[in-house]
């Protein structure tokens, strides 16, 4: 079983569009398990109409709760908290649940022993069936932390499911950025496919996310999306990849078919046989041998 994660650094470069198309092409050749690791903006499901088979609350950590009746008002909790999560109003101490990191420093420091750590439900995860195969996905509740932990959970469940199903591939849709959710999405993957955009921002952020993949020793390959929007920058990215001996897997054209397919809730390769769909087929043809099968 091989795990492919799709990342971009910058948001909106077309990760989910590429993942959905690859999933459709993979599904014609073998069994795959999909994992949507963009838990604070999960969009893969919008294209695949998942039927949820199993769902569970996600407890990402814990949060401190002060028992006001036992509190002696000493303020130690506020002194030890480094996240400004303990509020004092007229001598009454309370915890701002959103700011609380769940570190329990106050719980251990409280001389009156009146602070408990309670499990904090910060999201939900689901196991679903789609027309292309199994999908593990999740939703982080608004403003919650621990998105990286939820991504780890999604990855883990997808792996377990892939083993059960004897799947050939786990295909992971990553999130933008380079922080905890991205680290959790990339760690232990067999290959990271970077969807790059030929813009100054796209180039800058590609460089950073490639740094993350290298840092965690995951081999990376690059595909340029909407290459014709700026052919000069597209060529710069190709040169950048050559210099670093990074596999450049192709240039996807700008094509209205992407937006049209999204609005129909279909993958580009299902909805169209135009230039983008063709290019995506070409991408899968070069990607497949890199996954060692």
């Amino acid at each position: 079983m091989k795990q492919l994660v799709v990342l971009g650094g910058k948001g909106g470069t077309g990760k989910t569009t590429v993942v959905a198309a690859l999933a459709q092409l993979m599904a014609t050749e073998g069994r795959l398990v999909l994992a949507d690791a963009d838990v604070d903006a999960p969009n893969l499901g919008l294209l695949l109409a998942p039927e949820v088979l199993y769902g569970e609350r996600f407890v990402g950590g814990s949060e401190a709760v002060i028992d006001e009746t036992a509190c002696i008002g000493c303020g130690t909790c506020q002194d030890v908290c480094r996240y400004d999560a303990v509020l004092a109003t007229d001598g009454v101490y309370t915890v701002d649940a959103i700011a609380c990191e769940g570190c329990a420093a106050c719980h251990y420091a409280c001389p009156a022993g009146c602070i408990d750590m309670e499990p904090a439900e910060s999201g939900e995860w689901y196991r679903s069936m789609t027309r292309l195969g199994d999908l593990v996905h999740a939703r982080l509740f608004a403003g919650q932390e621990n998105s990286g932990k939820l991504v780890s959970l999604v990855r883990h469940q997808a792996q377990v499911l892939a083993q059960d199903r004897d799947a050939r591939w786990v295909l992971i849709d990553g999130s933008p950025g380079i922080g905890c959710p991205v680290i959790a999405a990339v760690t232990g993957a067999d290959l990271a496919l970077m969807v790059a955009e030929p813009t100054v921002s796209g180039q800058h952020d590609l460089d950073r996310v490639l740094g993350v993949a290298a840092h965690f020793r995951v081999p990376a390959a690059v595909v340029i999306n909407k290459g014709d929007i700026n052919p000069g920058r597209s060529a710069e990215i190709e040169a950048y990849c050559r210099e670093r001996d990074l596999p450049m897997l192709g240039v996807l054209p700008y094509d209205d078919a992407a937006m049209a397919a999204m609005r129909q809730g279909r993958t580009v390769t299902e909805a169209s046989d135009g230039p983008l769909a063709q290019a995506l087929r070409g991408l899968w043809a070069v990607l497949k041998p890199m996954l060692g099968q």
Binding site: G60, S152, L153, A214, F216
Partner: protein
Amino acid sequence: MKIAVSSTAPGAEAQVSPIFGRCNCFVVVDTETQAVASLANPALGASGGAGIQSAQYIVQQGVQAVISGNVGPNAMQVLNAAGVDVYAATGGTVAEVVAALQAGQLEALTGPSVAKDFGKGGPMGGMGGGRGMGGGMGRGRGL
């Protein structure tokens, strides 16, 4: 010798688990007394650092060796520091892999194959060095 095997279920007939930090169970076999103890993995529900917590737990059991499909870099560091030998086994039951170890048939894992401070020189430090690596190791790093 006490040997801990990461396993998918309790008992000597359970399959060895391909993962360490988040395996379902540890089966500890004492090769002198033939005693078998199945221990729930306390780190199974950990959101992060599962490998560290489970490795610390295994060290506390006083084992001399660990057998697992894979061991992540953090857990490996803990086990190495505590002087616990680590062996790789890709399949088989707990009883089978323990027998294989005693027969000298298992490969010893000497160090983490995923370096931790790789590429810290700068944003692009060490590009290219990581290629062709990375299979299977370091799972479950939750942040």
